[in-house]
């Protein structure tokens, strides 16, 4: 889709520095590179997946300055001086409820789903105004029918039964 962030014209490369998963990073990027491709193909962080490539599906969710964003829509040069966290930054234990509750079938949406779920966990006040089903609606899943995902988010939150319905 994007030429995988190869620097097409070395003279046009942009040097940027940012914080990635807690560590400082500096590298040269193509001005048109998407953060998604920079992460996957320049920095070998392949946990972040490309789904639709147009900001609909949430598979490529990363945190930018602590906010979940679709990395397919972020030009890499825009993260200059900012803070990026990817799914690799999460504690591997974060995945445990997802494995147990059947939140994963093909797995393509899972990294993005886990990022969104963890963000909800870090911001439990959101549950005062939104259901888990509403908060997870930015992450499309084709396999599970969402029930396994909702169940595991509830498990991860340690408050079962707060969703719109029970499976």
């Amino acid at each position: 889709m994007s030429g995988h962030s190869a620097i097409r014209n070395p003279q046009s490369a942009i040097s940027i520095a940012f914080t990635l998963n807690g560590e400082p990073v500096s590298l040269g990027v193509d001005p048109a590179a998407r953060l998604l491709d920079t992460l996957r193909y320049q920095l070998a962080l392949t946990g972040t997946k490309e789904g639709c490539g147009e900001g609909e599906c949430g598979a490529c969710t990363v945190y930018l300055d602590g906010l979940p964003v679709n990395s397919c829509l972020v030009p890499t040069y825009q993260v200059r001086g900012r803070r990026v966290e990817t799914v690799e930054f999460l504690d591997p234990g974060a995945l445990e409820p997802f494995e147990r509750c059947g939140a994963t079938q093909c797995g393509a949406c899972t990294p993005g789903v886990v990022m969104a779920a963890w963000w909800i966990r870090e911001h439990p006040d959101l549950l005062g105004t939104h259901s888990i089903r509403e908060l997870m609606a930015g992450n499309l899943c084709r396999c599970t029918g969402y029930d396994g995902i909702i169940d595991s988010v509830e498990e991860a939150l340690g408050e079962r039964g707060k969703g719109k319905g029970e499976g």
Partner: protein, 227 residues
């Protein structure tokens, strides 16, 4: 019934038949192979295995008649819907899926398979429509080919009525495509029952339902004005 058949191509056939519910896990086959090697030291043994359909299941490929599959699973689906008569948007607010798939081998995955299939079926029933232009899909993006999000669907309630099937591995039947077949008829029938519309095509998008309801409303007015 799984027939395991070992053939010695040089010196005559060695044949063992094993039932799928064989509790010895093929010990008879292993024993026969060991015995064969004792009788024919140093010689290669070639083998093959084949699945035999259960008795009474037959398919005629010439006339295309009969039962093509060795195991049929069954299911019943109930959809509860809300139709907004102003926007003609349909929302599934409850869904119950009951199926008989022989023995359930992995309860978590089997339930997930049904929930996933039902949600695809909800999409198929209400929103997913391939538009074709010059032999290619015109709306091949998630921007214009919508699939359900977690907020578009209810929790899918799943129940299994287990009845171990003697001709399936471990008593199981297939559960791959089963759950996508029933939701659209259940949902469309629910919309028909709720609105009096008579949908003949899916996806039953708001645009399509609006056309039908205008016709239904018109028919109602004709009926009201009849002497």
């Amino acid at each position: 019934m799984l027939r395991s058949e070992c053939l010695d191509l040089g010196q005559g056939a060695l044949q063992v038949t094993v039932d799928l519910d064989d509790t010895a896990h093929g010990a008879a086959v292993k024993q026969a192979i060991r015995q064969w090697h004792r009788d024919h030291p140093g010689e290669p043994l070639f083998g093959e295995a084949a699945y035999e359909k259960p008795p009474g299941i037959a398919w005629d490929d010439q006339t295309y008649r009969g039962d093509a599959y060795g195991a049929f699973a069954w299911a019943a689906y109930v959809a509860e819907v809300e139709v907004d008569l102003r926007t003609c948007a349909t929302r599934v607010i409850d869904f119950v899926a009951v199926q008989e798939v022989g023995k359930v081998l992995n309860p978590t995955l089997a339930k997930g398979q049904v929930q996933g299939g039902v949600v695809q079926g909800i999409g198929w029933a209400l929103m997913e429509e391939c538009k074709w232009r010059d032999g290619a899909m015109a709306n091949n993006q998630l921007t214009n080919y919508l699939i359900p999000t977690s907020d578009d669907v209810p929790a899918v309630r799943v129940a299994f009525l287990e009845s171990p099937y003697p001709h399936g591995a471990g008593g199981a039947k297939g559960l791959g495509e089963l759950p996508i077949d029933g939701p659209a008829p259940a949902i469309v029938n629910a919309v028909a029952a709720a609105t009096g519309a008579d949908p003949r095509a899916i996806p039953l998008t708001p645009e399509r339902l609006m056309d039908l309801l205008e016709i239904a409303d018109f028919g109602l007015r004709i009926a009201d004005s009849a002497p």
